[in-house]
């Protein structure tokens, strides 16, 4: 497969942010996740859990609650505002102050007409959902103490509100409180005087109310009579969140211990109909607090302080031993946070609030494959650039020559000219064309003369950069009327082409010289996760969220023979079973038939000459394959050469000197930066 000199980089201190809250839209099968830094991420569960969209957050705006109303997404936070997001342009659309102090929770009724917000001052505020905005309707009767959690009865006639030490049930019509359910204070912890916080309530259609509180209890109440039915003591610490399955036969509760406990509504004896809530399974997939939970039809989705999004299918709902039944952990973002300047040997790392520019180390040693070479020059950090303003960075780019650096936030784009020869200097390009205001992806052309930026309405703006000057050239408009944001920009190596992909699954190729659309790749069902144009053969390679690989010839404007063959034979099952999407496609100029792909757990060289793997063939790690005998090796060699020695990869790219840059982020480093988990007695310690 060829030998490379590998820069194994572990100094990218990427730190994902804790998951704060989640909401699932079962119609569109989109999961929205809000993180502690205010970022909102949208995952498409229908498309292999691909992270479609990321809306960066801003300082001082912590999202406390999320709510889908139809296809619209609302959030509320401790800043007291209710925000609606523009999911096409990846930015907040409008915000509305609720005038009730910090908002702890919002919830919409099942009809999608009303939005209730629970506020610090003890009011439940009702907002009417209008076409383009929300409008305050009225307050429900005001209570003492904050409203922590809210749940609508499915008919929309009643609302249960979790407060301190109690749960109130409101009549949604009159706005009066009809029941007051007192929640016992915890006996477990030292002081009895400490008030108990009802972190989460769930109102079921049979008027059962389920509550989870800070005393570690899950309580089941009869909402008609207002009486307590059962108490389940789960933990010494808090029960932070509850989630109900769509058919209301199962409830899950997330605790501070990192466990998720399932309760099921089942009959105690086989023949009888009287059912009761019984504690059943316990899932332990987190090390820290589970702050957010979603119960889909087939899976439990949980997230928390340990920053991982865990999708654990319920084995009684899915077919066993299929890909669907495998547990998934999503730790790293499905987009590139690292830009490489291939010619200059520079790396740009994107953090949410700053950028870091590093120069790669050098080594002149030679060694056998697998050897560790002595470092002649250590890698050095050249620039740390803090972002301006309150908005977090949403994208960044470094030009291949290393002379230009650009980043964008929700509100602005900044372009810098870098001088790195002897004394490092960085100059901001002061005047940018006004078209460059709302940008979700940036990229430089291979000769560093042009800047491409994806903008609103799925358009791509082309600007030329030269000598501290940036000039608007053109806007590429998509041929279709798609409004989905462009999330991938890939200029070709020869500078002729620009490939774009949007979250609607469309891939367009534009001619950069003629400034017009060259062709569109036929849309397949799955969203592309990486696209790239081959430098010599002028074919476009795209990898999709369902792990399919396509090669599209730009000259013939059709899929190549290799791509057809691959589709005909079908991908290897082991390839399809991987759970992380391919995030980068690169080519080896020395070996034009090689395609380099990587996801977070492996990198792979696809050799287009070699035969495709049969269904029964095994995917050997290349280091294992090396140790086999020659005949065995030949028998097991096929087009997909998987290399798993590097783990938790954030970037694999080929530099111009044919050395490979591998950016790793070991999980242990992430775990060590997490706050301490709650203390738990472990056996034999």
């Amino acid at each position: 497969m060829g030998e490379f000199k590998v820069h194994r980089i572990r100094f990218f201190n990427h730190m994902p942010s804790a998951i704060r809250v989640m909401a699932f839209n079962s119609h569109t099968e989109r999961l929205v996740v809000a993180r502690a830094d205010g970022a909102v991420e949208i995952f498409n569960f229908a498309d292999n859990y691909y992270q479609e969209k990321v809306i960066p957050g801003r300082d001082g705006k912590a999202v406390e609650a999320l709510c889908w109303v139809g296809r619209r997404l609302f959030s509320a936070g401790l800043d007291g505002e209710i925000t609606e997001y523009d999911l096409e342009n990846l930015r907040p659309r409008n915000s509305m102050e609720a005038y009730g102090g910090p908002i702890w929770t919002i919830s919409s009724n099942s009809q999608g007409t009303l939005l209730a917000a629970g506020c610090e001052d003890g009011t439940v505020k009702m907002f009417e959902v209008l076409e383009d905005r929300i409008q305050f309707q009225r307050n429900l009767s005001r209570q003492k103490g904050r409203i922590i959690s809210l749940s609508w009865h499915p008919t929309g006639s009643q609302i249960a509100a979790g407060m301190l030490d109690m749960i109130k049930i409101f009549d949604a019509e009159t706005g009066h409180a009809t029941h007051r359910l007192l929640v016992e204070r915890g006996l477990q912890r030292t002081s009895n005087s400490q008030e108990v916080v009802v972190w989460s309530v769930a109102f079921l259609s049979d008027h059962t109310i389920i509550s989870g509180d800070s005393a570690g209890k899950v309580q089941i109440w009869d909402g008609i009579t207002g009486t307590l039915v059962r108490t389940h003591l789960l933990t010494k610490w808090d029960v932070l969140v509850l989630a109900v399955s769509p058919d209301e036969s199962s409830v899950i509760a997330g605790t501070s211990e990192g466990t998720v406990v399932q309760f099921q509504f089942i009959s105690s004896t086989v023949d009888q109909q009287d059912k009761q809530w019984v504690r059943t399974r316990t899932f332990k997939s987190h090390s820290h607090d589970v702050r957010a939970l979603v119960h889909t039809d087939t899976a439990v989705v949980s997230g928390g302080v340990d920053t991982q999004l865990v999708v654990r299918p319920l084995l009684d709902k899915v077919e066993k031993n299929t890909q669907e039944s495998a547990m998934r952990k999503i730790i790293f973002p499905h987009r590139n946070l690292v830009s490489c300047a291939k010619k200059a040997g520079l790396l740009l790392f994107q953090f949410s609030d700053h950028l870091e520019l590093w120069r790669l180390g050098e080594s002149d040693g030679n060694g056998k494959p697998g050897d560790r070479l002595p470092v002649k020059r250590n890698p050095e950090k050249l620039i740390q650039l803090k972002r301006k303003g309150e908005d977090n960075i949403c994208c960044s780019a470094l030009s291949p020559c290393g002379g230009w650096l650009a980043y964008a936030t929700v509100s602005s784009v900044r372009l810098y000219r870098l001088q790195l020869d002897n004394n490092i200097s960085i100059n901001k390009v002061s005047k940018l064309p006004k078209e460059l205001n709302s940008v979700h992806q940036l990229s430089f052309s291979s000769d560093s003369s042009k800047l491409f930026a994806s903008s609103i309405l799925s358009s791509v703006i082309v600007a030329s950069v030269k000598e501290l000057e940036c000039k608007y050239l053109h806007t590429f408009k998509p041929p279709s009327d798609s409004r989905q944001p462009v999330h991938l920009l890939s200029p070709s190596e020869d500078g002729n082409w620009l490939a774009t992909a949007n979250t609607g699954g469309e891939i367009h190729v534009f001619d950069v010289h003629k400034l017009k659309l060259h062709c569109s790749v036929p849309v397949c069902g799955s969203c592309p996760t990486a696209v790239s144009i081959h430098p010599f053969s002028c074919s476009l390679v795209s990898v999709h969220a369902d792990q399919q690989i396509f090669e599209f010839s730009l000259k013939q404007k059709e899929f190549t023979a290799w791509s057809r063959k691959l589709q005909k034979q079908g991908m290897h099952p082991l390839w399809l079973q991987r759970d992380a999407p391919i995030t980068r496609v690169t080519f080896n100029p020395n070996n034009p038939t090689h395609i380099l792909l990587h996801d977070t757990s492996m990198f792979c060289i696809v050799d287009q000459i070699l035969p495709l793997p049969e269904e029964k063939t095994r995917f050997y790690n290349q280091s294992v394959l090396q140790s086999l005998s020659l005949g065995e090796r030949l028998r097991n060699s096929h087009a997909f050469k998987v290399y798993r020695n590097f783990q938790n990869l954030l970037c694999v790219d080929l530099m111009e000197d044919h050395s490979l840059v591998v950016v790793e982020r070991p999980l242990l480093d992430i775990v060590s930066q997490l706050p301490a988990p709650v203390q738990q007695k472990k056996f034999a310690t």
Binding site: Q262, Q264, I266, S268, T269, V270, V278, R279, T280, D316
Partner: protein, 784 residues
């Protein structure tokens, strides 16, 4: 078992009582457990064995109460029979013959379910015939591929379904629909099922697992949508699970020797009963929920009240992994002495089949931990009078040197126990191979000889009382080394004193040396065909001039000590040679082809008195002659050697076996028959007082009639006929009333016991109604 004439090998005493789950009777008064070839009925209060239900000829593999009559019990055995007993009286009610061997049984209403050989669960319909012996032909297999362990199968709520687990599979069979659901929820790892229990009221099945988890399964009527919750306290495999009869609690036990009581539906509340002494193998609950019982790996049953308090302990013979001390007989109590609990010697009465006590030898806390080497008792010896006990304990750690302690214990008459007299640390430099006391009855000058691998044998003698200067307390005499002997640097393997204590024979590898124990001079060496001496024995009584030895080259030699010459020798691979101290007889166990043969002979006679091929499978590792309390009068030549003493032996599978003659067995059976006929009272010490008393009168008045009820008494008439409002205070009447019920001495001859349903079990086997009126003694009334 093997028949030989009228002598056969039997399990008698010391059998396992923890082999299968015990059963507690409905009134919680009795506990029944399978024990060897019989079922033992223990009183749950006094811990005494009340009856032994004998009759099976193979190992009993299951005991269960009969659901339709709680005074009867089923038992099954490897002999292919299921028997029905009336356990309160110990009557055999019904025998069923069945081909194949039964592993265990479970009972549901009318059917009896048994595990047959091929790991099938078979339903047996009992024919309703009055015959005592019935052959059951109506068999139907319910489940196949079940585990051989009966705790992996359980009946659900009201017997509607049957749940069984095996390895990683669980199967639930519904009787009504005749349909079974199979679950294989785990891929492997340590999730193997170990045991199962069904909730009596809810459809909930609890399973125990290898990794210590307990899972509660619900909703198992669907193939897919079953669900379970997990309870985890045990750190290693859960060995037994049991729900209480109302289903409010779940009991579990494992190797931790802690009984855990979980509240059903409030699983984070649990109670513990720790320090039960040994790993729990079975947990059972009485039908009224008042008593729990746990069986333990050290052959013990603990009876626990439902308030989680231990109320009684029934201890059987403790069988560890290996018996290093061999079998000994305490000359004083005639008890069998061998290794018991770790670091202890146990004294077990074979006559009463009861553990007498444990003597703590090591006197160190035993720490339960895998791989930890601890002090173990490896040798023990009694002197002839039973006054002295010598023990050797050793600890061998991989890195450290061998640690050895020789301890001498004297019997204290006051406390009736052994008291440590002398501790000799490191008596030898290497492992002690043999130890024996001088047989002479004179206790003051008794000598202990220990032989070790370091090439020496040492003689130890009780020293004179230490003369102290008066300030210190008087200390009794202690033991000290008197002589160290060696022979050409060879390793002594065995040593033996002659019966009168005048000679000591020590076998140094291939050479037998004979020493004078008073002067410690080497008297002679006896030539021996090549081969290391394994056993040495002096003849007894009239044969005391003979010394016998066996070696590892399949030779047995007999030397005449008067002539110092070889009297005879024969080629036999004797693994164990022992002498009966009460007669001239010697026993030799020869191991051949995986089984062991026994020869009993007199050294002076060329022909063996008794020989039996294949007394047991496997090697016999230890054997001992125990003196009988009552001599047998057997005239048959072949069984005469059993008249004065019994021969007990321990196989490599830790089975304690003995030989029994036909006459002896008949006597035993007769005694149990007798028990059935003229007694309905439990065989307790209390009975012995009352029963004898009653016998006398019963004998006198066979035809007496029922005494008239004491209603005719004036006092009672008055009491019953006077209007209530004019009656004096009850306290006043009470003594008068009680007095009227008493029967004066002259009246005693008139009382009688009347009974229905004489014990003719043939005529009406099913009913166990039994009435008896005791006008004079309100002793035992029993409702059916």
């Amino acid at each position: 078992m093997v028949e030989y004439g009228d002598i056969r090998v039997v399990y008698r005493g010391g059998s396992k009582i923890n082999f299968r789950k015990p059963v507690i009777s409905n009134d919680s008064r009795f506990l029944l457990c399978a024990s060897g070839e019989s079922v033992k009925v223990f009183s749950s209060v006094t811990e005494e064995c009340v009856h032994e239900l004998r009759g099976h000829t193979g190992q009993v593999t299951g005991v269960l109460l009969r659901p339709s009559n709680h005074l009867q019990v089923y038992s099954c055995s490897t002999d292919g029979t299921v028997r029905l007993w009336d356990f309160t009286d110990g009557i055999l009610v019904r025998v069923k013959n069945e081909k194949g061997t039964f592993r265990t049984l479970v009972v549901k209403q009318v059917c009896v379910f048994v595990f047959a050989e091929l790991f099938q669960l078979v339903a047996v319909n009992l024919p309703q015939t009055p015959d005592q012996l019935v052959e059951a032909r109506d068999l139907s297999a319910v489940l196949s591929d079940v585990s051989s362990n009966p705790s992996t199968i359980a009946f659900g709520r009201g017997g509607e379904y049957l749940a069984s687990v095996n390895n990683l599979k669980m199967e639930i069979y519904f009787f009504k629909k005749n349909k079974s659901y199979r679950f294989e929820p785990f891929n492997g790892g340590k999730n193997t099922f170990t045991c199962i229990a069904c909730h009596p009221k809810d459809d909930c099945v609890a399973t125990g697992h290898d990794d210590g988890k307990i899972r509660l399964w619900r909703n198992f009527k669907q193939k897919k949508e079953y669900t379970y919750s997990t309870l985890h306290w045990h750190h290693s495999a859960v060995s037994s699970l049991c729900f209480t009869p109302e289903g409010t609690n779940l009991l579990s036990g494992g190797v931790e020797s802690v009984l855990v009581q979980w509240r059903y539906n409030q699983e984070n509340q649990k109670d513990f009963l720790p320090r039960l002494g040994a790993a729990i193998t079975h947990v059972t609950v009485s039908p009224d929920g008042a008593l729990f019982s746990t069986s333990h790996s050290d052959n013990k049953i603990t009876i626990i009240q439902s308030c989680v308090k231990v109320s009684a302990v029934i201890q059987g013979l403790v069988k560890g992994e290996n018996v290093t001390t061999g079998l000994l007989v305490d000359p004083r109590s005639k008890a069998l002495v061998l290794n018991g609990r770790p670091g202890h010697l146990q004294f077990y009465s074979l006559q009463r089949d009861k553990l007498l006590f444990h003597l703590d030898i090591v006197q160190q806390e035993y720490i339960h931990e895998a791989g930890l080497e601890q002090f173990e008792v490896v040798r023990a010896a009694f002197d002839a009078s039973g006054l002295w006990l010598a023990t050797v304990e050793e600890r061998k750690q991989k890195s450290a040197e061998l640690e050895l302690n020789l301890k001498l214990w004297s019997f204290d008459e006051q406390t009736q126990s052994f008291v440590l007299n002398t501790t000799v640390s490191a008596p030898h430099e290497a492992r002690i191979t043999a130890m024996c006391f001088s047989q002479a009855a004179d206790s003051q000058t008794t000598t202990l000889v220990s032989a070790s691998r370091d090439g020496h044998f040492k003689a130890w003698q009780l020293g004179l009382p230490a003369h102290t200067d008066g300030t210190q307390e008087y200390e009794g005499p202690s033991w000290s080394c008197d002589f160290v002997g060696a022979y050409h640097g060879l390793v002594p393997r065995c040593c033996c004193f002659s019966a009168d204590g005048s000679l000591l024979a020590v076998g140094f590898q291939e050479v037998v040396t004979v020493w004078n124990p008073t002067s410690w001079e080497l008297l002679t060496t006896l030539s021996q065909p090549p081969g290391d001496v394994r056993n040495l024995c002096f003849g007894q009584l009239s044969c005391s001039k003979y010394l016998l030895g066996s070696n590892n080259k399949k030779m047995v030699c007999c030397w005449n000590l008067l002539t110092c010459s070889l009297e005879w020798s024969t080629s036999m691979d004797v693994s164990l040679l022992l002498v009966d101290s009460r007669s001239e007889n010697m026993a030799a166990f020869c191991c051949q082809d995986g089984s062991t043969d026994l020869f009993v002979f007199k050294p002076s006679e060329p022909r063996p008195l008794f020989s039996q091929k294949a007394v047991c499978s496997g090697r016999v590792i230890h054997a001992v002659f125990t003196p009988r309390e009552v001599m047998l009068e057997s005239s048959e030549e072949s069984s005469q050697w059993l008249n004065r003493s019994q021969l007990y032996f321990l196989t490599e599978f830790m089975d304690l076996l003995t030989f029994s003659t036909k006459a002896e067995e008949e006597k035993l059976m007769a005694s149990s028959k007798q028990l059935v006929i003229d007694d309905t009272v439990a065989m307790t010490p209390f009975y012995l007082l009352l029963g004898k008393h009653r016998h006398e009168h019963l004998g006198n008045e066979e035809s007496a009639e029922r005494t008239p009820l004491p209603q005719s008494s004036v006092a009672i008439k008055e009491l019953l006929q006077t209007p209530a409002h004019v009656l004096p205070a009850t306290s006043f009447l009470c003594s008068m009333f009680a007095k009227s019920l008493l029967i004066s001495v002259t009246e005693t001859s008139r009382r009688v016991g009347h009974r229905f349903n004489l014990n003719n079990s043939d005529s009406d086997s099913n009913s166990s109604f039994r009435f008896r009126f005791f006008e004079d003694m309100t002793c035992f009334t029993r409702a059916s």
